[in-house]
């Protein structure tokens, strides 16, 4: 299996695919959006931009969970850490996201009880072991993560826990893609669709978009040859004037996704409106706990009063996630905003476009 990964990273394979891409490139300029931060990472790490013909650009999209999480959510999490008895449990990459007034990391340094988890189940186990504490798990992410948060809620229910709750900012991808397609300032000639969102939700979630907007969509794996193959498939669609959903990542993804995971997600969550950093409020693009599970809803259990949220003046995270600028076009990029001093969410996460561009800026 290790060898299998090497094959998907083969430089000769990449060069051969790039030659095919060049031969199919039309005269007009094209912009393909890779939704997922994992794809942005592959593209930068393997220098795919250099293999692509002139006029063909890749843009980052709104697929980094930490990055799209709005400022108000970070502020809510920060306010919760200040309440006695509450332990905030979170994936590690939330720690350094700047809120209106400081970050979770700074709160932790001041003594707030914040636990880093690799899985929401760790937060459930911690809640069970510490019945006198209230454990609030920060549930962020997309269709890939939502079933894991849902499974944690079910696990907490099965264990009879009353001290576990979820602060949800979970989101679903197609509504955000629709918002981008409807935006007059964003140009997208094709989507490289997120492999693991689709592994759960199924390739069919993009079919209404492809039909309505006649936009080519290709579900892609995360190795460099996967992405080049996906770009080739998009180019073929453009040349043949097709706007369809195709699947490059067939070794993991099917049209139906993972029905068991979807079932768990649908048992616990219902669609709701959600605010995205950079995209604003998008109707039906979020998930909230169903009525039967509101006792696990941190928002209801621990309401907080907050001043209006404020982002760092000049941070252009929103433009980066809409694909209207590349991170180096932000005047703060690599000057005042760096991974050791992030001014916006996109510089923090391993999946954030600004952070990825920073890591590979000389590559």
């Amino acid at each position: 299996m290790i060898r299998y990964m090497e094959e998907f990273r083969s430089a000769a394979g990449s060069r051969a695919l790039a030659a095919d891409i060049r031969s199919l490139m039309p005269k007009q300029e094209l912009a393909f959006m890779e939704i997922c931060g994992g794809h942005t990472l592959t593209a930068l790490k393997y220098g795919l931009a250099k293999l692509l013909p002139e006029g063909l650009s890749l843009k980052s999209g709104p697929g980094c969970p930490v990055c799209v999480t709005p400022q108000r959510y970070i502020d809510t999490a920060l306010a919760l850490t200040a309440r006695p008895g509450i332990v905030v449990a979170t994936f590690g990459d939330m720690l350094r996201v700047p809120g209106t007034d400081g970050s979770l990391l700074e709160a932790k340094a001041r003594g707030a009880d914040i636990r880093i988890c690799l899985s929401p189940l760790e937060a459930v186990a911690f809640a069970q072991a510490n019945p006198e504490r209230e454990v609030v798990f920060l549930g962020i992410g997309f269709e890939t993560t939502a079933p894991t948060a849902a499974a944690a809620v079910i696990e907490a229910e099965e264990r009879g826990l009353r001290n576990f709750s979820l602060l949800t900012a979970l989101k679903t991808m197609p509504a955000a893609m629709r918002a981008l397609l409807e935006s007059p300032t964003v140009r997208i000639d094709g989507f490289i669709c997120p492999g693991h969102v689709t592994a759960v939700a199924g390739g069919r979630i993009y079919e209404p978009l492809a039909d309505e907007f006649h936009v080519p969509c290709v579900v892609s794996g995360f190795e460099p040859t996967d992405m080049l193959r996906s770009i080739l498939m998009l180019l073929r669609q453009v040349r043949e004037k097709r706007g369809e959903v195709e699947n490059e990542y067939t070794r993991v993804v099917g049209r139906e996704g993972n029905p068991a995971a979807r079932g768990v997600m649908e048992r616990v969550f219902v669609p709701a409106d959600a605010v995205w950093r950079g995209l604003g409020n998008i109707p039906g693009s979020g998930l909230e706990l169903k009525v039967d599970y509101t006792r696990f809803d941190a928002d209801r259990r621990f309401p907080v009063e907050l001043p209006p949220p404020r982002e760092y003046p000049g941070c252009r995270c929103g433009d980066v996630m809409r694909g209207t600028i590349d991170p180096p076009a932000c005047p703060l990029f690599a000057r005042t905003c760096r991974p050791d001093n992030p001014l916006g969410a996109c510089m923090v996460s391993a999946e954030g476009a600004c952070g990825i561009h920073y890591s590979y800026r000389d590559a």
Binding site: E7, T144, T145, R251
Partner: protein, 78 residues
Amino acid sequence: MCLAIPMEVKTIESDKGVVEAGGVTYEVSFRLLPDIVPGDYVIVHAGFAIQKLDQEDAAESIRLFREIEEAEGKAKNE
């Protein structure tokens, strides 16, 4: 958060089990992906197996890459 590397399922006990990749083992939940047996390869996200890798399909992709590479090699030599 996304680990794109497929991991091999080593052991399963009710809905939990151990997976391995590159010599490192992890404990994961199979609650979101029942019907898995040891020897399967899975994609893991946030402590849960979320999808199974189709090994035949992966082998087929590799075969296709080889063909593309060979075709390009030939084109260069001509």
